[in-house]
Symmetry: C3
Subunit: 153 residues, 3 copies
């Protein structure tokens, strides 16, 4: 219950696992690797953060969206594993930021997701990462994040 | 020959494996994981589905493109493995949809690919997935899909 | 020292490993797989190649950028492994090309990265690949490349 305790300390409340909004499953395991579907900033089946970063949406708005993606990711992993203490390492994030042409701080948006994972998981939360812009995301959400986690063997 | 039988039932005819149009190989294996190069809706060396979804191309057009990507993916895996019955699980798809700004149904486009894989592989075809928009794809194709499959050990 | 010898022959000088410009780590290992963070064409902490391919930047410019991404990738792997001869196989590249709408030769840009890896690693450098366009990359760099390598067991 180390990770649950940490979530409490940080005031992070995981939402109930959202059923996928389309024809896929949230998590697939191959060996010790968990492949986690692209997470979007939804709550209760509705997109909470939409629009493009630049003039329409601020970096701070997009960072809030990124943190919700991480919370949804952890809810999916908890649902799959039963216990977040079974996470051995966070391996990789791929962060897509819905961007206006001219906005080039996708890495700063992605930092909010990475920081939250470090805060929760400490050293095992340190991960490789790719952050890119995109001209459109599903339901016009502001951020989408997929991940690979390692589980204890 | 279970999967071949299923393809027959569904009327899916796999094309001959297309040689890559550039400097890469279609499939790379690492342990039991097959990493499959981004598949585009080509036939006989020519892009069959081009243009952006939105006003220029419809969702249905893009879904047809997504299904051709899956057929080319399975052709590549069959060429690599010799027999599609050696597929243990379909792990993950990443779907890029060539999108006009304002089109935000990338997940609906991606569903066509996911549905076809479920129809062919049943439960082992259930996968994690990320669907995003992009402002341009190679040769202006409408959809590009990369995948990770697990093979029997 | 086979790979170092090859780098010498080709006149490729790896830069010192660049510390990540944000909250992530350059390389994460899971089993025999190395997941390498998205590499951008930076040197000495500054982006060397910026802008979009199309009318603003040429294919050749973007290919030069792609080669710098590969050099930074190898610098990161060398720093992690200590010795590039421990690379067993290059498994996959994902190449994002900062593109104007209308530019659709992302695969030709990506070829420069793939060719350099083949030149250095010969057959074990042959990899699966996905190349896509994007409307924006961090710091407006022209190309970003992430990779999966296999290390000797």
């Amino acid at each position: 219950m180390q990770i649950e305790k940490k979530l409490d300390e940080l005031g992070v409340i995981l939402p109930p696992m959202a059923p996928p909004g389309a024809m896929y499953i949230p998590v697939r395991k191959l060996g010790n690797a968990l492949f986690i579907s692209g997470q979007v900033p939804m709550r209760d089946g509705k997109p909470l953060f939409t629009g493009k970063v630049g003039t329409e949406r601020s970096i701070e708005y997009a960072q809030d969206a990124a943190r919700i993606c991480v919370e949804n990711m952890l809810a999916a992993v908890k649902d799959f594993l039963g216990d977040l203490d079974l996470v051995a390492n966070i391996i990789k994030l791929q962060v897509f930021v819905n961007s206006e042409v001219g906005f080039d701080k996708q890495h700063i948006v992605a930092n909010a997701a990475s920081q939250l994972l470090f805060d929760i998981f400490s050293d095992i939360g340190r991960h490789a990462r790719t952050a890119v812009g995109t001209n459109q995301l599903p339901m016009d959400v502001t951020v989408e994040i997929e991940a690979i986690f390692e589980v204890k063997g």
